[in-house]
Symmetry: C2
Subunit: 147 residues, 2 copies
DNA sequence: CTATTTGCAAATAATTTGCAGCTGG
DNA sequence: CCAGCTGCAAATTATTTGCAAATAG
């Protein structure tokens, strides 16, 4: 768990004012592991800080994305989710539970990087390449585990 | 270009009534190569068939997706697009032009299938695995080519 | 002090719904 | 004929915007 001073520093070095609202929102998003939607973030925020508005949550997470502090992912159904992890990773999307899960696999990353070294993609400046596994959880009360 | 009789047959064998609206919409989606949005489909539809309503286009493409005649993909920004191709393929998304392009690469498919043979994904019924390349077109007037 | 940021309420955009009337088989 | 489909308009949902008041640095 990161403390507020650290988040404050993170915001400053991104050139953003470290407002109360931003500190609250960032610390909550970092606590929520599973790619929350704006509504879910707002739901958490309002518990302790009911005066922070929904519009502020929208504006704030968008600011974070623009400044590279969060990334933004669409689910298969087009709902936007926010992810505090910025490094290269894949996603697992469970259509039945609507969960969007990170998955890390260096071997897969390497495989894909190697693959595209041998292909030439013309007229495109690649920002990133992601692998997404879509499926349904068999037992919704248990976790998905890759090994 | 597929003819109407063929589409009619396709609808019937999916257990759907071959209505005028469905024939028009399906033939237009099959003509549009680059993953149209509902609005883009509606834009084409109304040229020749101004009496077909937007709501009908929404309902119809959704019916097609439910019956496996089209697939539905969200762009990185969460906009829904419809794709007449159902086989396994990757997507290239150009952030600047908002184009969503199919890309076929058997070698990559095979690589990924092999990779997941050696991984065990527990508690998930996998529906599909897709690779998405996100980037920006360098020259928006030219095509992206992979070779 | 002042450029940014916030909260509110209203605006916009995308999609869904209820229901009466139409139509394919 | 009649279950399923369509068109319309209204409802819902998600997100954005304009602007006056608040505030970080």
């Amino acid at each position: 768990m990161r403390d507020l001073a650290e988040i404050q520093e993170m915001l400053r070095s991104a050139g953003l004012k470290a407002t109360h609202q931003r500190l609250v929102i960032m610390s909550i998003v970092m606590k929520m592991t599973n790619h929350p939607s704006v509504d879910q973030i707002y739901g958490e925020v309002r518990k302790d800080h009911p005066s922070i508005s929904l519009a502020t949550v929208y504006k704030t997470v968008e600011t974070f994305v623009e400044n590279g502090l969060l990334s933004k992912v669409a689910t298969r159904e087009g709902q936007m989710r926010y992810d505090p992890r910025l490094d290269n990773h894949g996603h697992i999307y469970c259509g039945n539970t609507k969960e969007l899960l990170d998955f890390y696999d260096d071997e897969l990353n390497e495989l894909i990087i190697d693959f595209f070294k041998n292909r030439k993609v013309n007229n495109l400046k690649i920002k990133n390449i992601t692998v997404r596994i879509n499926g349904d959880k068999i037992d919704p009360s248990k976790d998905v585990i890759i090994k």
